[in-house]
Each structure stands twice: as C-alpha cells, then as structure tokens.
C-alpha cells in the first residue's frame, strides 16, 4: 500500500485497459497509473488477478504440448510437398504437358470455332471451351449455382452416376481450400456431362467438368470398339492448360473420361487442384 500514491489521477481505467494491464500490453507509464488506480479498487484488482491466474493456468495446462513428439503425419505435412510433377503418378503425364495460352482470342466466351488457335489444336479444345463456358455461365449464380447441393452429396453422386452411366465421385478439395457446393447435369456434345462446383473462402468458384461422351471428331468419328476398349493408351492423355482472361482451364483425359478444372485461379493453384483430383479419382478406381 503506497501512502504516496500518485494523486488519484482518476483517469479511470477502461475495461480494455484492465485487460491490457493484465496482458502487459500497456505502455509502462499507463501501466503504472492503472496499477495505482487498482490499489484503491479491490474488486477490480481481484478480477485482474483472477485473469492473470487463469492465464498462467492455461499455460501450465497446454505448454506441455510444446514438448510432445510430433507425429510422423505432421512431420511430413510440415515440409514443402514435392511439386506435383515430381509425383510418380503424374510424371508421365507431366512430360506431355502442353500449354495452350489462348491469349486474347476470346475463345472461351465466344465459342470455339472461330478462334484460330483452335483450328490447329486438338479437338479436346472444344471440350475445354465447353467447360469454360459452363463455368462462366453458372459460377456467377448466387442462388442456384448447383442443382443438388453438397448437403445431399450422396444423392448428387447417385443421380449423376445413373445419368452418366458410370460411377461418379465428387473429389474432396477441402485441403486445398475449396469446399464442395454441389453439382449439376449439363448437356454436352452428345450426351450428359456433370459439373461439380466448389468454392473457396473468398467466394471464388471452381468447377470440375466431367464427360464420358464418346470422343472423336464429329465428322470422322472413331469406331466404337476403339472407344470402348479398355486401357488403350490414348494419344491425348495429357494435362493441358489454357487461359482466358481471369479464367483458367486445366484438362485431361483418363480412360473414357475427360476432366476439366476451371477457375479464376493461377496456373499453379489449378495445377495443384488438378493433381489432387487426379489422385483422388485414380485412388477411387478399382
């Protein structure tokens, strides 16, 4: 008790200042004033002491975690992951990586057929263009971005699988910051295609566009046996990338399926999502 306490300068301490006092976040001058103020207010002083006590107790309770051995899974997750092209499953595909920068040609929005680049590019470009168009049509939707939402994921997957005539699966991209919003069925070139929609924290949408339509030029056409034959190494099995303004598309062929990822994300991010989707879908195959 200081009899020579500074004149009760009674610049009263605010609640916030009392906390800052307990946490050592006041300037030394103000801390001294608050201390003097508290000297005359036992109730307030008791509260502050209780806060300080609880803080010490919390440290005592949880600080031992600092010394625990870090589980192997967390050790692995702490280190920079191998770049996706370094992973064996994707190395072959990466070797074939073909980058198509569409530049300002506007193919994604205008339709594919008049873009000069497309004339020379593989037909798969039509596919990427359709995926990009489907993205630009539905991604801005506020109320109805999907037909079936993620809360009914099972129904969504069952429904799409039935309509597509093949087992569908919605990859989970939570770890990459994208939450599944749901999906819808769309008309493709010759039949149904599926679109899964995801959304990141900032509200940016990412779509996965999946088709198992029979491929091949509309004019020439490929034989059905060729299309149905399992496990044939298709010449266009590769990851491909195209960009149109803020929207980028990453697409590939895997067996009878074609996939396209579209989002207003940079190529690195899209690459990572594509690698993850590829990984999950590969893991799901029997």
């Amino acid at each position: 008790m200081t009899s020579a306490a500074p004149p009760p300068s009674d610049l009263p301490a605010t609640e916030a200042e009392l906390h800052a006092f307990a946490d050592g976040q006041l300037t030394p001058e103000r801390a001294a004033e608050v201390q003097a103020w508290l000297a005359h207010r036992p109730d307030e002083a008791a509260r502050v002491r209780a806060w300080e006590t609880h803080k010490r107790e919390l440290r005592a309770l949880f600080d031992p975690v600092l010394d625990e051995a870090v589980p192997p899974a967390l050790q692995r997750a702490s280190r920079r992951p191998a770049p996706w092209f370094g992973r064996p499953a994707l190395a072959a595909a990466a070797a074939l990586l073909l980058v198509l920068a569409a530049g300002g040609s506007g193919w994604a929005l205008r339709g594919a057929h008049d873009a000069p680049l497309l004339a020379a590019a593989p037909r798969a470009n039509d596919f990427a263009a359709r995926a990009a168009i489907a993205h630009t049509v539905y991604a801005p939707e506020v109320k109805r971005p999907v037909e079936v939402d993620a809360a009914h994921e099972e129904q969504l997957v069952t429904w799409l699988s039935r309509r597509m005539g093949a087992a569908m699966k919605a990859p989970h991209l939570q770890a990459l910051g994208y939450a599944l919003e749901g999906g819808r069925l769309l008309p493709g070139e010759r039949g149904p295609v599926a679109q899964f929609m995801y959304r990141d924290e900032a509200g940016h949408r990412l779509t996965l566009y999946v088709s198992n339509e029979k491929t091949g030029g509309a004019a020439t056409g490929l034989s059905n046996t060729d299309l149905r034959g399992g496990g044939d190494a298709r010449p266009d099995t590769a990851f491909r990338f195209a960009s149109e303004g803020p929207v980028n598309v990453f697409w590939w062929v895997d067996g009878p399926f074609r996939y396209a990822i579209t989002a207003p994300a940079d190529r690195a991010a899209l690459t990572q999502v594509s690698a993850e989707v590829y990984r999950q879908l590969a893991a799901a195959q029997p």
């Binding site: 609640e15 609880h54 440290r59 309770l61 702490s78 280190r79």
Partner: protein, 172 residues
Amino acid sequence: MSMPDDLTPWVPRLRRYARALAGNRDDADDLVQDTLERAWSRAALWRNVADMRAWLFGIMHNLHVDALRRGRLAVVALDDDTPDAVAPPPQAARAAVLDLQAALERLAPEQREVLLLVALEDMAYADIAHTLGIPLGTVMSRLSRGRERLRLLLDGAPSVPGGDAVRLKVVK
C-alpha cells in the same frame, strides 16, 4: 516474407493452440495437419505475408470455424449473447465448479479463440484482430466476456464487478 521449405518450427505452437481449441488430441492434430496442407497450397502467397504467425493461425481459425459449422467437433456452442447459465455453486460447490479445461470448453468458440491467443501466444490485440479478421473492439469485447465467463465458471464469481457475495474457491 521468404518462403521457407519447412514449417516445422511452427508446429509445436500450432499444436498447442489447436489442442486448447479442439479439446482433444486427435481433432487438434487433424486441425494442424489441415492447416499445414492449406498453407502449402497457398505458398505462392507467402511473399505477401507480413506476419507468418497471424497468417498460419488465421488459416487454422478458418478451418476450425468450418469444422464447427459442419458439426464435426463436439462443442457446446454458446454465442456472445447467450446468458450465462451457470448458477452460483449451491451446496456441493466443488462438484459445480469446473476445472479449467472443462470451463474452457464451455466458452463460446469465438471467446475461446481470443482468450487462447492472448494466453498461449501472448499475441498483441491488434495481431489477434488481424488473425481472426475482426475489429479490435470485437477482440476486446470477446476477451472481456470470455474472461468473465471463465471466472464465473471456475471461481463462481459474479460476472458483474462489485458483487459481494461470498464465493467458494477451489484449491487445486
């Protein structure tokens, strides 16, 4: 900010905070793992990150909130405006007064976060505001409410200062 190849130095602190947040080891370590994975997925943004700690803990915050929304973690959800339901301890005072961890779990999640960042990380209030993406005033009100509720739960103290009822205190 430079781009480290290793987030290992952050792991013990992330685990400590996650443990206090999630209440059990498994959920906590899942949260840490998700945090690390998301951090790597956004490594391209690191050059814009001025405060790595705020960034990492902010990621953890977002993931935790997501998990709470999905109801994956078992919590007693009390929002800021829920009146304290804890009556002053009656006869069996000892049984009524909670231990620290149990009391912590009864705080509203948003109060718990602020309280823990202060207690475990000694984080400056402004950094907490940045980490959680909320205004400084909200940090202070959550801290204040969280601390008073904790005091009530632990010590049976009145949440209003100046109450003069005799309170029982548990000697640990």
